[in-house]
Amino acid sequence: MMSTLAVTVDNLIKNYGSQNALKGVSLEVNQGELFGIIGPDGAGKTTLIRILATLLLPDAGQAEVLGMEVEGHYRQIRNRMGYMPGRFSLYQDLTVLENLQLFASIYQTTLEENYHLIKDIYQPLEPFKNRKAGNLSGGMKQKLALSCAMIHEPEILFLDEPTTGVDPVSRNEFWEMLIKLKARGITVLVSTPYMDEADLCDRVALVQEGQILSVDTPVAIISRFPSKLFAIKSTDKYQLIKDLQAYPSTASVFAFGEYLHYTDKRAHSSERAPEQALEQELHQYLQDRGHRDIHIKSIEPTIEDCFMAFMQKEHKWSAP
């Protein structure tokens, strides 16, 4: 019977010298899922993806892709997966078309034969098919790389930080393409340092320093946020941070766009102080410190809030 798991990872460990890139990572990815590995640089995202893409061997632990063990069956896996490394890794001195044709022939197919697979992604590039890949803009390079990774109709795609350093518009377009691929039944495993991209995934793994903080659907992760979250703003943001950091009941305060995100120590305790009372008290405190135009509202946390909450739990981070 065919397994419904596209990827299983069990207690993976990988060290580079004294540096521990993966400290025992376990997760499962279902077939047809759009799965995000989310975390900052140095979290171990690239190492994990490379192990799954059969390009690195773990020091310990098990990893299976499409039901096959990554070490022994690397050739079979390579036939059925698509891979896009973090850096733009196509031939810059070949044209768009030459790159595509080369990758088509590597997988013993042709561009004509599999054109339908990459049509959506490739079409905006087609007017530039005779341009050297090195002369493309960042967004177009990403599209070309994805086209090349898709040309052989892989069952699973590994994408290592495809949107890093790419502007928000190109990022949106790229994610739209991933969602379309998913709709065709392709399993997509994508890593990113941008927390806001988590919401576009079916499930995500939050990773930090070689460890998984949490694996779940974005909604479930958010629902487990340990505390009530408030968004606060006033006219002087810098002073607002300083004052809130000095406030005795503050659990955490982080800048978040035009607002600050604030959690209260009292909200952690079992008998939660009523929201209204907290808000009023805060308002009063800030008013006393001379803030004007104070807005305080209770909000839903984002994945980034959750990530920071997990980080604080792990490390007892203190804001400077």
């Binding site: 979290a43 803009s137 967004g139 177009m140 350093g165 340092p193 990530f307």
Partner: protein
């Protein structure tokens, strides 16, 4: 508004037939945090290179820290700090050696190099690792240190080119605390970023599209003007999909 610390008027850079920067005009005040946004290839890097005296403009005027970009690039370099995501610190030198090296480049006296080094190490909490090589530090620490080193000579302006790319969310915010602090000390901060929430932290932001500045205002005013909720939406509205 007092005399602008950065002043650009119709600043233009052409490469052959291609106009990378197309007659941009703007002013940045002392101590302001100025967000310089735009899609990849919109011309941000070219504009910055002209402002920091690395490339001569094709046309237009620009004064940076009171110096002319055409005639006084050396004076400009002495009065600014620069930090990019790619190059900042020497990986094979220790924390201390890096700080001393950069302080030395800007001609600080031995006495003040010693003081500044100790001060910085304490401020960033790097006492434990001051004799470790930079390569062994986490990215977030490196970036915070790189920023501090970029303003070690108390420049009038600091240019930051995507300083927080890939940095974890908490360190990213600590980084912005440093930016605020510098700004309060009167250092002008000129920053590019792909994190749209960071655009909200700026006093004013400009949006570059295809070599021109399409919008320039306070984040709040831009959101009102375009009738959207966030800077992300402002960006998406302005930066049309790549036109080539």
């Amino acid at each position: 508004m007092e005399r602008p610390i950065i002043y650009a008027k119709n600043l233009t850079k052409r490469f052959g037939n291609f106009t990378a920067v197309d007659a941009i005009s703007f002013e940045v005040g002392k101590g302001e945090i100025f967000g310089f946004l735009g899609a990849n290839g919109a011309g941000k890097t070219t504009a910055i290179k002209m402002l920091i005296g690395l490339w001569k403009p094709t046309e237009g005027q620009a004064m940076v820290a009171g110096y002319d970009v055409y005639k006084q690039p050396e004076e400009i370099k002495r009065n600014i700090g620069y930090m990019s995501q790619r190059f900042s610190l020497y990986e094979d030198l220790t924390v201390q050696e890096n700080i001393r090296f950069y302080a030395g480049i800007y001609g600080l006296s031995n006495q003040s190099i010693r003081e500044k080094t100790d001060e910085l190490i304490v401020k960033l909490g790097l006492e434990q690792v001051q004799n470790e090589r930079i390569a062994s530090l986490p990215l977030g620490w490196k970036q915070k240190l790189a920023f501090s080193v970029a303003i070690i000579h108390d420049p009038k302006i600091v240019f930051l080119d995507e300083p927080t790319g890939g940095v974890d969310p908490i360190t990213r915010r600590q980084f912005w605390d440093l930016i605020y602090e510098a700004s309060h000390k009167g250092i002008t901060v000129f920053v590019t970023t792909h994190y749209m929430d960071e655009a909200e932290y700026c006093d004013r932001v400009s949006m570059m599209v295809d070599g021109r500045i399409e919008a320039l205002d306070k984040p709040g005013a831009l959101k009102v003007h375009y009738g959207v909720e966030s800077m992300h939406d402002v960006f998406v509205k302005l930066a049309r999909p790549e036109v080539e």
